[in-house]
């Protein structure tokens, strides 16, 4: 007898939220901080001091945390299913541990760096 999954809605929610961040926030962020800023535009990435001052705000850190963490879970979910489709589905549980584990490690690392950064 099949039963409703308890874990899939959780991972899928992170995947969906990560997809929204990756589709909308990441391109804007890359445009502003990766292109406009270095070209001399009025964004924090224009120089090190402004970047550093920008990072002082807790809001910036929360923003960066979301920007880094959620797309990692988006990747993890997609990559898990890609590996399964490539013929590794018999390692189902291991794929989940590997992919979500990597996202969790990445998230923890991001949190640690953002909390401890001066």
């Amino acid at each position: 007898m099949a039963h409703a999954s308890r874990s899939e809605p959780f991972w899928w929610s992170l995947f969906a939220a990560g997809g929204v961040v990756a589709a909308f926030l990441v391109p804007i962020h890359v445009l502003l901080e990766g292109i406009v800023g270095p070209l001399g535009g009025p964004t924090p990435a224009a120089d090190y001091d402004r970047m550093h001052a920008w990072l002082a705000s807790p809001f910036t850190r929360v923003y960066l945390f979301v920007l880094i963490s959620l797309p990692l879970f988006h990747w993890a979910h997609r990559f898990r299913f890609t590996l399964a489709d490539l013929g590794l589905s018999r390692f189902g549980a291991w794929l989940a541990v590997l992919c979500y584990g990597a996202a969790i490690v990445g998230t923890a690392l991001a949190a640690w760096l953002l909390i401890t950064a001066p």
């Binding site: 099949a2 039963h3 899939e8 299913f81 489709d85």
Partner: protein, 248 residues
């Protein structure tokens, strides 16, 4: 002017003498108003009475004439020869299903999956017949109407790479039908459907390739139905976490 013709390269398979399916080529008149099914009927009537395939209504309603035409699942009664001129046209049985003979596939798997999602009105409190029909506003009907147009042609199963790789997947049409009843204001069966619909073989198996919705001849959009069910399932899950004592 000589009659224009087109070639059909058709899958043949007889389980008693063919170890594997083979192809046979037929030449048929290329009429402006002929569909692939007309050409198959012409072959059966005038060239080769042994050719086997399914059809019935000839008007896109019965859902029995689905085949892979040049690799794409199509209703052959709604697929014109002229689309493929000058040909040849490859006509194969629907992909992802076992072949019984020639263009006829074994649909047992789909027939077994369909009732598992209880695609009918489920009521907790059945009102007696004297109470009259369950009424519905046009707006309430509009919510599920699109998902009720499915003709069970199974083109979506033939197009779905996930179903091809993981045959335990309940699949697009059955899940879209579950969604259709979940959206129906007269229905009370969403909780009863959850065990199957929200299982690993249900909506979570889908990776949103979307090919089902591309090939669907009735614009049912099964891929959209499945994503909407995922959102509902995720909200249910969230509710059960923040409000575990609330009834589900």
């Amino acid at each position: 002017m000589p009659q224009e013709t087109i070639q059909l390269v058709v899958t043949r398979f007889h389980p008693d003498h063919d170890p594997v399916p083979r192809f046979q080529t037929y030449t048929v008149p290329l009429h402006e108003d002929w569909v692939v099914l007309d050409a198959l009927n012409y072959i059966k009537d005038t060239q080769d009475g042994t050719l086997s395939y399914r059809w019935s209504c000839r008007m896109g309603i019965c859902g029995s004439c689905g085949m892979n035409v040049n690799g794409t699942p199509r209703l052959t009664c709604a697929t014109f020869l002229r689309e493929y001129a000058p040909g040849p046209i490859r006509v194969e049985p629907l992909a992802n299903f076992p072949i019984i003979r020639d263009l006829v596939v074994d649909i047992t798997d789909f027939m077994e999956k369909l009732p598992r999602v209880q695609p009918w009105l489920v009521r907790q409190d059945e009102t007696p017949l004297t109470g009259g029909e369950y009424r519905q506003t046009p707006g309430e009907m509009e919510r599920y109407h699109q998902f009720s147009l499915c003709i069970n042609c199974m083109l979506c199963y033939a197009a779905c790479p996930v179903y091809g790789l993981h045959p335990e997947f309940i699949g697009p049409a059955a899940l879209a039908l579950a969604h259709r009843y979940n959206l129906d204001s007269r229905d009370q069966g969403r909780a009863a459907r959850q065990a199957e619909v929200y299982s690993e073989e249900g909506i979570w198996e889908c990776t949103f390739v979307g090919q089902c919705s591309v090939v669907c001849p009735k614009k049912v959009d099964p891929a959209g139905a499945i994503q909407q069910e995922k959102v509902s399932a995720a909200l249910d899950w969230l509710k059960s976490v923040v409000w575990p004592w609330g009834n589900r």
